[in-house]
């Protein structure tokens, strides 16, 4: 229950940050995809199921408030949660490089697929332009932010797990 509340708060908080504070801190016109970092982090730390739940929730949040097609972001986030969740098997507590690489790769793929569905299918064929001016800057920025955000999420998760462990022992 505690975990559920904390995760919900985290998702909403990241959503708010992404839509407000980071909009004004945009670098090269791009905003870091905080929601994706959260989904990747949770999926990596907790596994496929939770990754998918959080992915669906955060994706729906974006869709409901900003999306054109409801479910577009959600389905992508769910897929990210599932795929990253596979890597949960190699989860190792104090390693930072794997989740950062996962964030980078998933952000790239997320945006690439997003581009395919939202632009390519409408006849916007400048793939390289979109990669160079939108996807790559966002990826770099997201990865930079993820270095910090992942540590925060990780420490939260660590404390929750400690408590759960003690509860179970009792």
């Amino acid at each position: 229950m505690k975990r559920f509340i904390i995760t919900t708060v985290t998702v909403i908080l990241c959503f708010l940050l992404q839509t407000t504070v980071f909009q004004s801190l945009a670098l090269a016109g791009e905003v870091p995809n905080l929601m994706l970092v959260v989904v990747v982090a949770i999926a990596y730390m907790r596994g496929k199921k939770e990754g998918m739940y959080v992915g669906f929730a955060s994706g729906m949040l974006i869709d409901l408030i900003y999306g054109d097609l409801i479910g577009m972001n959600a389905v992508l986030m769910v897929l990210v949660g599932y795929l990253v969740g596979i890597c949960n098997e190699i989860y190792y507590r104090d390693q930072l490089s794997v989740p950062i690489v996962l964030v980078g790769v998933s952000d790239f793929l997320f945006n690439f697929v997003f581009y395919i569905f939202n632009f390519l299918l409408r006849g916007r064929f400048h793939v390289l332009y979109y990669i160079w001016y939108t996807i790559l800057p966002e990826m770099v920025y997201t990865v930079l932010v993820a270095c910090v955000l992942y540590k925060v999420l990780h420490s939260i998760n660590y404390r929750l797990e400690c408590k759960e462990d003690t509860e179970e022992v009792l």
């Binding site: 409901l64 389905v75 179970e168």
Partner: protein, 292 residues
Amino acid sequence: MRRKNKFSIEPKYILIFFVILCIILIITSYKFKDTFAPVRSVAGNVVTPMQKGINTVGTFFAEKTEVFTSMKDLKKKNEKLQKELNSVTYENKILQQEKYELAELRKLYGLDQKYANYPKVAARVIDKDPGNWYKVFKIDKGSKDGLKVNMNVLAGDGSGGGLVGIITEVGHNWAKVRSIVDDTSNVGAMILSTNETCIVSGNRELSNKGLLEFSGLENSKTKISTGAEVVTSYLSDKYHQGILIGYVKEVKVDNSNSTRSGYITPVVDFGKLETVLVITELREALDPKPKD
């Protein structure tokens, strides 16, 4: 561990469920855009106040960062504007100069009309002796424009234009003009109203007051009033006849009692002389038998 056992659905099925759900949502929201509007507005209503709250923090940071990011921009802009301003002021100066020049040339044109029966060349004063009055000055036209020694020089505007002086030296593209206010200048003149001749000469002392001297006017009964026009006379061998010199300022009878003399206010303002007209016809040329 209990919990995990309780809902042990395979993740695969959850994934499939979610994907199908999302696809249905996408299709329905694409087909019936309006049905989702209320849901959206509710979600928006919940989130907007929170965003506003955070935004106050965000804008604070944004303002701080903007100060730095805009600084460069502003500096660049400032530089650019400065450059622009410089060029614009330069252009403006040129325009003003041109406007001034236009006025000068219009005056000259008026003068040209006044003495229309002589061929003339316009010229610019390029150099003057350091005094306040143009006793001797240079103009930017010379022998290549057909100028010769002893040609008459005029200046001023149409109504107030008159004799300036005479060319004393000619170079390829310059000529030296001795003005009538120069101490060595003597001009054969006459009072227009009475046709009596006199000699108008420059005087160093008077020229500083902006006046000319005249002498040798016959002490006849005719009354010469202040303001009578003085023009070049038909007796002169260098000056064309009938060019306005100035107006009588003062007349007095000489000691010899046979002649009168006095002062003339020249019609040309020798204080600011920039453009002049040169009559490119020599007085001698009008003579049936040239002196040479």
